[in-house]
């Protein structure tokens, strides 16, 4: 019997499987000390009837949309497991976290957020980073993240445009990979989707990784 253990940590509750094959952290409210930033993926239509033009543009708007919401973070799963087993293990933990949140809604934000790392090529390059972040921060993002931890993205945000960035400026590779997870996170994506998380309306500001949300049923949007 692979029980779920719940233990208290500084930032929240850790949910883990007894056999150690998977765990995640449920944080009740995010971004209340250091601001947290995401890109909202929006849509703008530029239309001119007399020119026969109707162009749909995707925009990225830097913001703190998820401030105060609950977060599922630090999703870990034994990479040795088959993809379906990884998904099943994470799904159990996500469901348990959702249940904990539904049980004491007042202790949590209105919705649950989960960030996944963005897509990278075989050489480890992120097309979204190369097209956007790298134009504003010349240093190595992995080194910066190693030095600053997750706070790195809060500092990076200070260097990024505050106003809407039109995705089409970023080139085809970045357009295609925005809000796509790293291969290693595909199992986690499947687990989040199975647990009722909505398709990403936000992306991570460095590698463009998807940010998914789930709302407790019956809670006003």
């Amino acid at each position: 019997m692979n029980d779920i253990h719940i233990s208290a940590e500084t930032d929240g509750q850790r949910f883990s499987l007894a056999d150690g094959s998977a765990s995640l952290l449920l944080v009740p409210r995010l971004g209340l000390t250091l601001p947290r930033y995401h890109f909202h993926i929006g849509r703008v239509v530029h239309a001119a009837q007399d020119l026969g033009l109707f162009r749909v543009q995707t925009t990225l708007l830097l913001g703190n949309d998820h401030t105060g919401q609950a977060e599922l973070t630090d999703l870990r799963v034994a990479q040795g497991l088959a993809a379906a087993e990884q998904t099943a293990a994470l799904w159990r933990l996500i469901s348990a976290a959702q249940a904990a949140m539904a049980e004491k809604p007042a202790d949590f934000g209105d919705w649950l957020v989960a960030e996944l790392p963005g897509w990278r090529d075989a050489a480890g390059n992120s097309p979204v980073w190369q097209a956007l972040g790298a134009r504003f921060y010349a240093g190595d993002p992995l080194q910066a993240e190693a030095r600053l931890g997750p706070a790195w993205r809060s500092h990076l945000a200070a260097l990024l445009p505050r106003q809407a960035v039109y995705l089409s400026f970023l080139g085809e590779a970045a357009e295609r990979r925005l809000a796509q997870p790293a291969d290693a996170a595909l199992a986690a994506l499947a687990a989040l989707q199975a647990a009722g998380f909505q398709p990403p309306a936000h992306a991570r500001i460095d590698d463009g990784g998807p940010v998914l949300t789930w709302r407790i049923a019956g809670r006003a949007p």
Partner: protein, 339 residues
């Protein structure tokens, strides 16, 4: 040099204007290569020069440069009283934003382009064209600068701020790297095609299709970054004259091709600052030097280049047909330019 006369366009000049419009590079001149449009430009100019009404701002003035010795027109230039008269006039304004993070040890100036209407209502210098054979002489000085004296002398009909657009860089095939990186993403067509579509339409309605948020230059491909504020070679001569007049070329660029749009307060411009009124007298006096001489009245406006002293004689300004007692506007030219 005395054989060059700048005067308002006349109905009989249509054929010459057509020749000039055809000779000026496609999409570069603001002179439409289209007979009906040229007829309308001429009619609008005749009206603007002759109308007794107060100015509304929609006036456009067109001047032609006549080589009296050769008996033909060799250039033209124009003024639009109020940029974007029927609508807004769009430009990109260069702005620099410092992005800094102490934790990351970064502080950098980021170049951004802001879509703006700053130049709406300013007076625009337009339609500069000069036959290539005259480019190395002083004709360009007369063609460009005389407009400024016309504006000064008829100031109530114009803005106190003057602007001028210059064509941006395009390649041999007419493609603009700035357009490819910016406009094309919102129009889905290439530059020559867009120019054709834009022709006859308000640029404002086109600009509505552009993103309202600032464009970060760092996000553009290198060729487009490099094209910002760069001139098409055909624009170099008129641009150099505007620079010499004291126009600022660093603030605005064209939203489509990234060419520089210059602007300045009229009173700050060299030809206007140095202009003085002179009376035509029978006897000249003072050291003789090259000057731009202008009969300033709206009806009857004319301008020539002449070597004259402080007192101007009828013989100095023969092409003007100036008579003793008449008052002209005069402004000195650099010796180098008049050579």
């Amino acid at each position: 040099m005395n054989h060059l006369l700048l005067r308002p366009v006349a109905a009989a000049d249509l054929a010459d204007l057509q020749r000039m419009a055809a000779a000026s590079a496609d999409g570069i001149s603001s002179l439409p290569n289209d007979e009906a449009k040229l007829r309308r430009r001429i009619a609008a100019s005749l009206q603007a020069f002759a109308s007794p009404d107060d100015a509304s701002g929609e006036e456009t003035y067109l001047f032609v440069l006549e080589d009296l010795a050769a008996g033909r027109l060799v250039g033209c230039s124009g003024i639009a009283a109020s940029a974007g008269f029927f609508d807004r006039f769009y430009s990109y304004r260069n702005e620099f934003v410092v992005h800094a993070s102490a934790a990351l040890g970064v502080s950098q100036r980021m170049h951004t382009l802001h879509l703006c209407h700053d130049l709406t209502g300013t007076t625009l210098l337009t339609s500069f064209y000069l036959d290539p054979g005259y480019e190395h002489g002083p004709a360009a000085q007369l063609l460009s600068r005389a407009r400024l004296l016309f504006i000064k002398a008829n100031a109530e009909r114009f803005s106190e701020r003057i602007a001028a657009e210059s064509p941006g860089i395009t390649d041999a095939a007419g493609q603009s790297p700035f357009w490819d990186a910016v406009g094309r993403r919102f129009f889905g067509m290439d530059y020559p095609e867009a120019e054709a579509v834009i022709g006859g339409r308000s640029r404002a309605c086109i600009a509505e299709l552009m993103p309202p948020s600032p464009v970060y230059v760092a996000l553009l491909p290198e060729a487009a970054q490099w094209a910002i504020g760069q001139l098409h070679p055909v624009g170099e001569l008129p641009f150099s004259i505007l620079q010499d007049e004291g126009f600022d070329a660093d603030t605005y660029i064209d939203i489509f091709d990234g060419g520089p749009t210059v602007d300045a307060p009229l009173a700050s411009l060299r030809s206007v600052r140095l202009a003085r009124e002179v009376e035509v007298r029978a006897e000249g006096d003072g050291p003789r030097r090259w000057q731009l001489l202008v009969r300033p009245q709206r009806a009857g406006f004319a301008a020539v280049l002449a070597e004259a002293g402080d007192g101007v004689t009828p013989a100095d300004a023969q092409a003007l047909g100036a008579r003793p007692g008449e008052r002209l506007l005069a402004t000195p030219l650099h010796i180098g330019e008049a050579a």
